[in-house]
């Protein structure tokens, strides 16, 4: 009777358990090599995400509302063409003069964005005499340092990469839409084909190859300035931007700490 639970037997069990545990890393390594052999991606070699920190600056005073960025984004990223899906878009703000007798600095504010600005904007029908001021504001993912979307995701499909982009893993995304509700900037949507959340990736396939994001590439007025915090050059456009402008972020009260910086925006812009 005593033999069934002798010390020797007991140690034997323990030893084999430890053996299993020791085999785990080996199994893990074997699995990843098999996986690497089976899938060869077209990803650029030699890009280290920990060596970059991307950010975008937007000078609202320069935007002419041509909409080429919206068009380029849709083409580059094969975003659904229908006018509800945008990774970036342009809004036209129109602030009227206050009505006679109205005790206010500014009148009514209207915002329009026909097809996200993709086809350009038709000239506004409001007569010039009624307009106090008007301007265009390009919008995109704000690249939050503390991103509400990745905090809201119940399955960890949205995450902040080491280089500053916020990406969605389509293999993990269950399409619940919480992130779309969580984003205070309205930058996310449900892909109508895959039914997974989609958003600006900062053209991750371009920046890893040393190209600029498509919207920055086609912007004719250098409204959009793209930079790398970890690889600042001398006279870096980002530094010049910060030196020459008063720089703001959208909805700073939310504490999201966006890495998309706006220059010269009015308080009407949200």
């Amino acid at each position: 009777m005593n033999s069934s639970c002798s010390r020797r037997r007991w140690l034997g069990w323990l030893g084999s358990g430890l053996g299993w545990l020791a085999a785990l890393p080996a199994a893990k390594a074997a699995k990843s090599t098999v996986k690497n052999l089976l899938t060869s991606s077209g990803a650029p070699k030699g890009y280290d995400p920990t060596k970059h920190q991307w950010l975008m600056c937007i000078d609202v005073d320069r935007c002419i509302g041509c909409g080429l960025c919206v068009d380029a984004c849709k083409i580059e990223n094969k975003v659904s063409a229908s006018p509800h899906y945008f990774r970036t878009w342009i809004e036209r703000y129109l602030i009227r003069k206050p009505k006679p007798g109205q005790l206010a600095l500014r009148g009514e504010v209207t915002v329009d964005s026909p097809n996200g600005g993709r086809d350009g904007f038709p000239p506004t029908l409001v007569p010039k005499s009624e307009i106090l001021k008007a301007f265009y504001v390009p919008k995109l993912c704000n690249l939050c340092e503390h991103s509400p979307c990745s905090q809201a995701c119940p399955v960890g499909a949205t995450f902040d990469t080491p280089d500053g982009a916020v990406l969605v893993d389509p293999e993990y995304c269950i399409g619940c839409g919480f992130c779309i509700q969580a984003c205070p900037y309205g930058c996310r949507f449900m892909n109508p084909d895959t039914h997974t959340a989609e958003k600006c990736t900062l053209c991750y396939h371009r920046i890893t190859r040393g190209l600029k994001p498509a919207c920055v590439e086609v912007c004719p007025t250098q409204t959009r300035i793209f930079g790398d915090l970890k690889n600042m050059t001398e006279k870096d456009p980002v530094q010049e931007f910060i030196r020459n402008n008063k720089v703001f972020t959208l909805k700073p009260n939310l504490g999201t700490e966006p890495r998309v910086l706006y220059a010269n925006i009015d308080k009407e812009v949200r």
């Binding site: 990843s32 077209g42 002419i64 991750y204 590439e217």
Partner: protein
């Protein structure tokens, strides 16, 4: 002699716990993706997958390789901040194979950027289509790559 004895029911319990933990950790190894945790609490390979798509816009640098003269001409003129592909459209196929010629441009693309609108910054050059030589083509008078020169 009194050897230290484990009560048999305790031993069974210990073995059962070990078996559960063992199965869990083995299953975990096989169920978590290989690159999970490489950069954080997510699948590291997702970054590579996002990066693996081929670009569509080639970038102005690519045009410079063969159209160096146009590039130099452009950078001297007022359209210097306008990228080739802003006007000519995405042209990676053409870069790979110059026989695939970029589409011809129409006047519409000039108008897109230069049509007068109240929301455009005042320092940007704008025209009123009804006033600025309405029935003629822009390129009859303007040189696209050197807009400050007239023909």
């Amino acid at each position: 002699m009194t050897s230290p004895r484990l009560p048999p029911q305790l031993l069974r319990l210990v073995l059962l716990t070990l078996a559960i933990i063992g199965t869990y950790s083995v299953a975990r190894v096989f169920l978590t993706p290989a690159t999970f945790g490489q950069f954080g609490h997510y699948r590291g390979a997702a970054l590579e997958e996002a990066a693996s798509r081929p670009p569509v816009y080639a970038g102005a640098k690519a045009c410079d390789e063969c159209h160096g003269d146009t590039f130099a001409q452009l950078t001297k003129a007022r359209h210097r901040s306008v990228s080739c592909e802003a006007c000519h459209g995405p042209n990676r196929p053409h870069v790979k194979n110059p026989d695939i010629v970029p589409a011809k441009l129409t006047d519409r693309h000039c108008v897109r950027c230069h049509l007068a609108d109240a929301a455009r910054p005042a320092k940007h050059r704008q025209i009123n289509l009804t006033e600025h030589y309405p029935n003629e083509k822009c390129l009859e008078c303007h040189v696209a790559h050197q807009p400050n020169q007239s023909k």
